[in-house]
Symmetry: C2
Subunit: 256 residues, 2 copies
């Protein structure tokens, strides 16, 4: 299993203690599925048991009915392409029935934007923001089973959005900021959900300086946070948290 | 917030105690987004702050750059359609850049299948399966931040799949069963992730009798489980769980 994990050097903040540690995060990979030469879909996944995933997906979506429908199955280009030839004719799915689900992975762009330097903040403030955030979750308190995301400056949680879809909470924050004229640049975003690469890209487009989650990030989101200049935080619980990238924003680490 | 929640009558099993209770689960709704008359995408979401969500999504996807790009915004048909007219021309996104994300919501079908009656099981066995499942998670133990799903019969966990994507774990199980010739009909599926309506539909196509999660289901998955004859379980932790639908499979409730 170890090869599906990346080990990231990071710093854990707990009370006034800072500890260097190496934390494993799961790898993620984008796999393009071609059926009879037609690019059907890309799936972001853990690159383990890829053939099971692709065959199961095609079966579940009704594109194949039996294993015997497959003429050939090939993983190409370092497992980034699954190339399937079916014995029979392949009917392209109707565009209109494409739906995007909870994760709302359907995206029409996958670019990010480098965020500005600055936005220094003390570790204590992160803990305070996490506690404020927890107090402002409403739907979660009633029903659980939803995600929540907060936007804040270094002192105060400004907005909270809740939704069954992780990505939706980011879009709800983005929409509310546009409509209320709140500038998201240099702000802090905190979320109950894992920060996937797609969420990291959304944060970068908002110009977010610090993106924090109560959960672990994925390998790709660590890479993207590095590239786009975002301070990425995980495992935040109001009294401690782990910093994966751009630690310089924590004043004690200025110049890091 | 209460109107974004459904209250479901269910039974909690803890040791040998059974308690009737009413548990809130979050509502979910499918919202179709039309831009200048073109059906862009459907988003499954919590139907609260819908305008924020849609505006934020369109902005994040680069379809609008300013709030002023919007000529009109209308929610129609009981909020199931968001109809946006842009002032400028709308360029349809290129099909090729469609990706499906962690949730892998992209689906080409949304039909389910009624599963067969039968598949009685004692509550004690569910707890035992959950414990077996927990012992068989590998990637989760190393890195956290992934989902795991197990397929079992009433005694034993047969297969486990792990992935950063909730839906991917179901597809990996489905694929492995196809390739190993394991019949999924009447089997039990357990997952660390929330069972959304899309996952419930996948389970129904597999003929799963009992679908259990460590988390809460959503309102729609309860409805679909009722319709498709699946016993839906939530909040399972190895010593207790909650049953939302088709309780008759628990022998004590035969005939329920």
């Amino acid at each position: 299993m170890d090869k599906f994990v990346e080990y990231i050097e990071c710093i854990s903040f707990e009370e006034n203690e800072q500890t260097k540690s190496v934390i494993p995060v799961p790898k993620e990979k984008d796999i393009k599925i071609f059926v009879n030469g037609y690019e059907l879909v890309s799936i972001l996944c853990t690159p383990y048991k890829i053939k099971n995933l692709v065959v199961g997906f095609l079966y579940s979506e009704g594109i194949l009915s039996h294993l015997e429908d497959i003429e050939s199955f090939e993983l190409k280009q370092n497992d980034s392409i699954a190339d399937i030839k079916l014995k029979g004719k392949f009917e392209k799915p109707l565009k209109k029935t494409l739906t995007s689900g909870f994760g709302k992975g359907t995206m029409f762009r996958s670019d990010g934007k480098k965020v500005s330097k600055g936005g220094y903040i003390s570790p204590v403030k992160i803990n305070s923001l996490v506690k404020q955030f927890e107090n402002k979750m409403e739907l979660y308190r009633i029903s659980g089973a939803v995600h929540a995301t907060a936007l804040g400056d270094s002192d105060t949680v400004l907005l909270v959005a809740e939704d069954i879809g992780r990505h939706n909470t980011f879009d709800k924050i983005q929409g509310e900021c546009l409509m209320k004229g709140i500038d998201t640049k240099g702000k802090i975003i905190l979320t109950t959900g894992r920060i996937s690469s797609e969420m990291l890209l959304k944060a970068s487009r908002m110009g977010i300086a610090v993106a924090g989650s109560m959960k672990s990030p994925t390998g790709n989101s660590v890479l993207l946070a590095k590239e786009f200049g975002i301070t990425l935080i995980g495992h935040a619980n109001g009294s401690k948290f782990v910093v994966y990238t751009h630690k310089y924003r924590f004043s004690d680490f200025a110049g890091d």
